[in-house]
Amino acid sequence: MTAETATLVRRAHAVAHPPVAGRLVAVEGLDGSGKSTQIHLLHQWLLGLGCKVFFSEWNSSLLVKEATKKGKKRQLLTPTTFSLIHATDFADRYERQILPMLKAGYVVLCDRYSFTAFARDRVRGCDGAWLRSLYGFALRPDITFYFRLPLETALGRILDGRPQLKYFEAGMDLGLSADLQQSFRMFQRAVMEQYEQLAGEFGFVTIDATRAIHEQQELVRAIVAERLDLAHFHHQGGA
């Protein structure tokens, strides 16, 4: 890391964030790690407890959806525009949903957060410091669960169940391999290496994603209950 990029990173981390009443929980992991299932179950549990909870998904803002779809379909995206279009999507959701919900005292659950960009876009060749600065406006989650499982297991779950891989999903834009499946393997391996580094840098809570779904969920719920004062997030007047 050059002195200049080190400064950028320091600045990005030093951005002063306003304190919010709500709490932010994110899940990260490879495709096939089961993170979406886990956050869905967590969501249901919190709803059942009568908590004020809001769920937000990566790449789901309606406003930029069309542009993203078009860019992907026509394979127009470069590493930089790929990264920027996802950042636009995130900023839209962040400023209109996530941040207001946090200010209003909700528990906000995010299926993927800025770390997905840090991992994937870094593999595509974007500078790590630039990425951290790009997402520097976003609050750090109170808890980030990282669902870790062996690469072969993750690959198996995807390649066995859904053989129609999409171009960008398989990292075909990187020119790793002309073969879709081979490219997907190489891309996922590189993304996993990034996640392993991010886990340390950002203090992820790592969950062994090879365990039974209900066992993982039990762990997730126990950690959430321990770290967040859930009684504090109940709807006024009960659920």
Binding site: K70, T81, T88, V123, L134
Partner: protein
């Protein structure tokens, strides 16, 4: 060597020393005469034998149309809007400007990162974040800022359109319910922002309050020198097309 460089981190897959052409940026508020001057400059350069390519805002294939729609709807936050504009900018930079520069063309940019930074900054997005966002942009060979007084701008705007533009009047900022008052405050803030960028990035000021001819003459003298320095004298621009595509990282 073309002497090209990036403001900060280079664009992935682009090597600056293969960019043989010249990147000339014309900045300035609406109604400062930018497009007229760029049209004349382009023609003049082509008559001398230089290939000319142009870029502007909201012209990307990727998000140009979506950005136009978002602008009409006015529902995006300043930061989201800044990122949307950045996507449009980099799409054009990578897919049009870089190939044109590799081929040795003169690229005339009708506004560049400076207007994008200025507009977002006035709307409360912080400077450091904006500069980091655009740190992957190419440093232009020269940037000219067409400067007009507030009074001059009002006259030109009315002469051209007989009405003020919502965005160029800063009506989204809630400065005043009166469009004219809002226009004056907004343009004053914009000018202060451009002045900051002028000293920070070495923009050259051009007095655009003169006749079209006088401004064009001034620009030709300055642009001609830059183009000749970068590409060599007229009728002898380099014919090297830059060779093969630069390698993608991770290949």
């Amino acid at each position: 060597m073309s002497g090209k460089r990036f403001f900060g981190t280079p664009l992935p897959g682009v090597s600056a020393d293969r960019l043989l052409g010249a990147l000339i940026v014309i900045e300035g508020p609406d109604s400062s005469g930018r497009s007229t001057q760029i049209g004349l400059l382009g023609q003049w350069l082509e008559q001398q034998g230089y290939a000319v390519a142009q870029m502007g805002l909201r012209r990307s294939q990727l998000v140009g149309a979506e950005l136009e729609a978002a602008k009409q709807g006015n529902v995006l936050s300043p930061r989201t809007m800044a990122l949307f504009y950045a996507t449009d900018f980099f799409d054009q930079l990578e897919n049009r400007i870089v190939p044109a520069l590799r081929a040795g063309s003169v690229v005339l940019a009708d506004r560049y990162i400076f207007t994008l930074i200025a507009r977002a900054a006035i709307r409360g997005v912080d400077h450091e974040w904006l500069e980091a966002l655009y740190s992957k942009a190419l440093v232009p060979d020269a940037t000219y800022f067409l400067s007009v007084t507030s009074a001059g701008l009002v006259e030109r705007t009315f002469a051209a359109r007989a009405a003020l533009d919502y965005w160029e009047s800063g009506m989204d900022l809630g400065l005043s319910r009166d469009w004219f008052d809002s226009f004056l405050v907004y343009q004053r803030r914009l000018r202060a922002e451009y002045r900051r960028l002028e000293s920070r990035f070495g923009l050259e000021r051009v007095n655009a309050g003169r006749s079209i001819r006088a401004v064009q003459h001034d620009l030709r003298t300055r642009v001609g020198a830059v183009v000749e320095r970068t590409l060599g004298p007229a009728n002898g621009p380099g014919d090297d097309n830059g060779g093969a595509e630069a390698e993608r990282p991770g290949a």
